[in-house]
């Protein structure tokens, strides 16, 4: 029973941790640059979850004020993550632009092949 209780209380944290280590694994283990950026995105979304999920109150409503509503969930993490998402896509675009340039000058987006080519020249 205690295990079940812990699971219900911390399931969001555990899924968040799983997403985070998957993102970490992709970034470290995979040599493909686009795949690395996808992994970075996974890590980023897990951080969104880390911020948003403690702000929820069970039985609460979205923080838009009105008569007879409440309790409201915490609006502060929403604000922080809202801007983080848009900044995230801007930085993703920057990373993809770098990938495109790397592909143009090396002819590949695999890390190992780029290193091999660097050693040759």
């Amino acid at each position: 029973m205690a295990i079940l209780e812990q699971t219900v209380a911390h399931y969001n944290h555990w899924v968040m941790i799983f997403l985070m280590i998957s993102g970490l694994y992709i970034v470290v283990a995979r040599g493909n640059m686009v795949k690395k950026l996808v992994g970075l995105g996974l890590f980023q979304t897990s951080v969104y979850l880390l911020y948003i999920s403690p702000g929820k109150i069970l039985g609460g409503t979205p923080p838009i004020l009105g008569e007879g509503l409440g309790p409201y969930s915490n609006p502060l993490p929403h604000v922080l993550i809202l801007t983080a998402i848009v900044v995230g896509v801007a930085t993703l675009a920057l990373g993809l632009a770098l990938v495109v340039r790397i592909n143009e000058s090396f002819g590949t987006i695999e890390e190992d092949e780029i290193f091999a080519e660097e050693d040759d020249t």
Binding site: I64, L82, V86, V89, A90, A93, L96, A97, V100
Partner: protein
């Protein structure tokens, strides 16, 4: 894709509604979910959608790249300009209270102006990024 009549007709039907919805999200952001960031992304997505269906040239005839590139700094300028304006009116930077007869209304107008700045920058940036990526491919 260019010759597919289903896509073209469907796109023609959808695009005005996407734009209206983006503006609704922009100006209704005070009362419901939404705001400058979301509306900006939607407006950018509308241009991207149009460019995917009708081709890059058609999209750039309607939304010229020069205008979009100007929008990117213009939004930041609007935002910072609101802050400077509030300073000139004798308050702190980005304190919108002196914009109207009472402070609360001033805050409301200030939020509206600032969100407009965010909208301009975000929509401009999304469109400009898409244009450069697609322009690189040809």
């Amino acid at each position: 894709m260019r010759l597919d009549i289903v896509f073209r007709v469907a796109a023609k039907m959808f695009i005005p509604f996407i734009l209206v919805f983006a503006l609704y999200v922009q100006f209704h952001g005070d009362f419901g979910p939404g705001g400058g960031f979301q509306a900006g992304v939607m407006a950018g997505a509308m241009v991207i959608f149009y460019a995917i269906i009708f081709g890059l040239e058609a999209a750039q005839r309607i939304v010229p790249p020069r205008v979009v590139e100007l929008m990117v700094p213009a939004g930041v300028a609007i935002y910072a300009g609101v802050g400077v304006a509030s300073m000139l009116l004798g308050e702190n930077f980005l304190n919108y209270s002196p914009f109207a007869h009472d402070p609360a209304h001033g805050q409301e107008y200030g939020i509206l102006l600032v969100e407009a700045g965010v909208f301009v920058t975000v929509s401009g940036t999304m469109t400009v990024i898409f244009y450069t990526f697609v322009g690189r491919g040809r």
